[in-house]
């Protein structure tokens, strides 16, 4: 065999042909599932919700022109933050509820799990996709809200300056200060972050319910009940821990509510923030940590139940 023959028959060293060692955890695999989930949800036109939000903002700001500027800003902030809270909660529940059942119906889950993808990564990737969708939606809605608030503030400032053109400068400055104080408030930002964390919690809880649910409808109905009960959890908890005169059945029922359900009222801070209550760092941090704690726990429980699910 000549040298020339050897070079033509021997395969050159090629690194990619050597099989890679499978890693138990891969961030890139999770990211691939996350981006895929986000693309899937985007194709379902969930961002049309943002259009509805925009129309609501414009509509309400036109309608409120008949009120005084304090009333107008109060209602604008209430409606906008209420809408952000409602849309993110709805998105969180509906988008997550259909995620696992759809993948099972479409058999996508078999294709993914047939590959060396652990179920943990699949679940984490899926929930991260929904959380990313929620983050984008919250950011866009918050930006639209602040833009409308700013535009209205500028319009009211101009009108006030025009009306008070002949007033002494200190009176004019007072009036303009009052307008500014009624419009933007820096505490609105932590308030919106808390709304987002509440949506994250609902996403993780919906995912947990959907791991043992039999259909999407079932998950959504259960989550609607959980949503209402979660808002009553604090009342049930206080009654259970402080009232002594109630019967055994009532106490057992209250204990179940207090132990199994999250306290969703803890995340409704924006109502009071809009009213002018300042949010301290302690309140924000503790509330945010509670939200993160719930999200992590429910995600881990979802992974645990999903590992035992027969597919």
């Amino acid at each position: 065999m000549t040298d020339g023959e050897t070079s033509s028959t021997l395969q050159p060293f090629d690194a990619p042909t050597i099989p890679k060692r499978h890693r138990a955890f891969s961030l890139s695999r999770i990211l691939a599932i996350t981006s895929n989930t986000l693309t899937e949800l985007t194709r379902l036109k969930v961002f049309y919700v943002l259009l509805v939000f925009g129309l609501l903002l414009i509509g309400s700001s036109i309608f409120m022109a008949q009120f005084s500027f304090q009333q107008e800003f109060q209602i604008l902030k209430d409606v906008s933050l209420g809408a952000i809270s409602m849309f993110t909660s709805l998105l969180a529940i509906v988008a997550t509820a259909r995620m696992l059942p759809r993948d099972i119906d479409d058999r996508t889950v078999y294709t993914i799990l047939a590959k060396p993808v652990p179920r943990f990564e699949y679940v984490v990737g899926k929930i991260a996709g929904v959380l990313l969708l929620l983050a984008i939606s919250t950011l866009v809605m918050a930006a639209a809200f602040f833009a409308v608030l700013y535009l209205r503030e500028q319009a009211v400032l101009q009108a006030t300056a025009k009306q008070m053109a002949s007033a002494p400068p200190d009176q004019l400055a007072d009036a303009l200060r009052a307008v500014r104080a009624s419009a933007f408030n820096a505490d609105l930002i932590p308030g919106i972050i808390i709304i987002f964390l509440k949506a994250c919690l609902l996403t993780a809880l919906t995912l947990f319910v959907s791991t043992f649910a039999t259909s999407t409808i079932f998950t959504i109905v259960v989550m609607v009940f959980i949503y209402f009960i979660g808002h009553l959890e604090a009342t049930a908890r206080e009654y259970w821990l402080t009232a002594h005169g109630s019967g055994l059945v009532t106490r057992v029922f209250l204990a179940i509510v207090a132990l199994l359900f999250p306290d969703l009222q803890a995340f409704n801070l924006v109502d009071d923030i809009v009213a002018g209550t300042a949010i301290s760092m302690a309140v924000f941090t503790k509330t945010a940590l509670l939200g993160i704690f719930y999200t992590v726990i429910y995600t881990l429980l979802s992974v645990f139940v999903f590992y035992g699910k027969e597919l």
Binding site: Q66, F67, Q70, Q71, Q74, I75, D78, V79, L81, G82, S85, M86, F208, F212, Y227, F228, H231, L232, E233, A234, T235, R237, E238, L241, A258, L259, L260, D263, L264, Q265, A266, F267, N268, L269, V270, D271, D272, V274, A275, G276, T277, A278, I279, S280, A282, V283, K286, T287, L290, F293, I297, L301, F304, V305, Y307, G308
Partner: protein
């Protein structure tokens, strides 16, 4: 099945762990004036079933705004009874919004009371005056409840002081509430001055009023406003203050 039961067990253990954390957080929220509304039968009766459900879902501010718009429409149609009912619901749902307490009190003590006095359907003046006094009392009640719910805010104390001054002509109570407002953080700079002005109209408290006005006068040019000088001059005459202790005459000619 086994995994489901284990998950339930974990949820119960987690529930036991989270209880003290959630209770502490709820206490902290209340201390910092969050969660001012208790969800109980009383609230349910006040705001109706639909309102209660909406409030339960975390949308009490939107429900309150919707009721506020209804109250605005009721005002345009001069339906004072309906307005009273709606404002009671609104302030129950949003006790931390000063605007709602203030607007409710203004409608009752100023608008409804004037409408009652001008009521063409009521020929007896005594009854018109009675109705007017009742609306004053309703306005006062809104402000008093508002202050109870917002003890850290000066605006409602100022509004109640104005109501005592303008509607009840009770300068002593007006002075008291202006002083209360002045003692709170973020109070308007004129609250102290207004409190002293009102006190200067109270029989028997002239000396105290004089000392407070004089103390304000001594703070400098910014406080030496025409009304303050006028009231000081009045008290100097009334209390027979020696000429050498009186404020300079030239300020009178401002």
């Amino acid at each position: 099945m086994t995994r489901g039961l284990i998950a339930l067990g974990v949820l119960i253990v987690m529930g036991l762990l989270k209880l003290p954390v959630e209770r502490d957080l709820a206490t902290l929220h209340r201390q910092e004036h969050f969660r001012g509304v208790e969800f109980n039968l009383d609230l349910r009766e006040k705001i109706g079933q639909l309102g209660f459900i909406a409030a339960l879902s975390g949308f009490r501010s939107i429900v309150a705004d919707a009721l506020f718009i209804q109250a605005h429409a009721a005002w345009e149609n001069t339906q004072w009874g309906r307005m009273l009912l709606l404002f009671r619901q609104i302030t129950t749902l949003q006790p931390r919004v000063l605007l709602f307490w203030d607007t409710a009190a203004w409608h009752m003590a100023w608008n409804a009371s004037v409408a009652a006095m001008n009521d063409a359907n009521q020929p007896r003046q005594a009854l018109r005056v009675k109705a007017q006094r009742e609306y004053f009392a309703l306005g006062k009640e809104f402000l008093e409840r508002g202050i109870k719910n917002n003890p850290d805010r000066p605006e409602l104390c100022e509004a109640l002081a104005r109501l005592y001054k303008e509607k009840y002509k009770d300068h002593e109570r007006a002075a008291e509430y202006y002083a209360k407002a002045a003692a709170l953080p973020e109070a308007a700079p004129w609250d102290r001055r207004f409190s002293a002005y009102e006190l200067s109209y109270c029989e028997g408290r002239e000396r105290e009023a004089y000392e407070r006005l004089r103390s304000l006068y001594n703070e400098g040019e910014k406080e030496r406003l025409p009304t303050l000088i006028k009231r000081l001059n009045f008290l100097e005459d009334k209390l027979a203050i020696p000429q050498d202790q009186r404020i300079p005459d030239k300020l009178l000619k401002r």
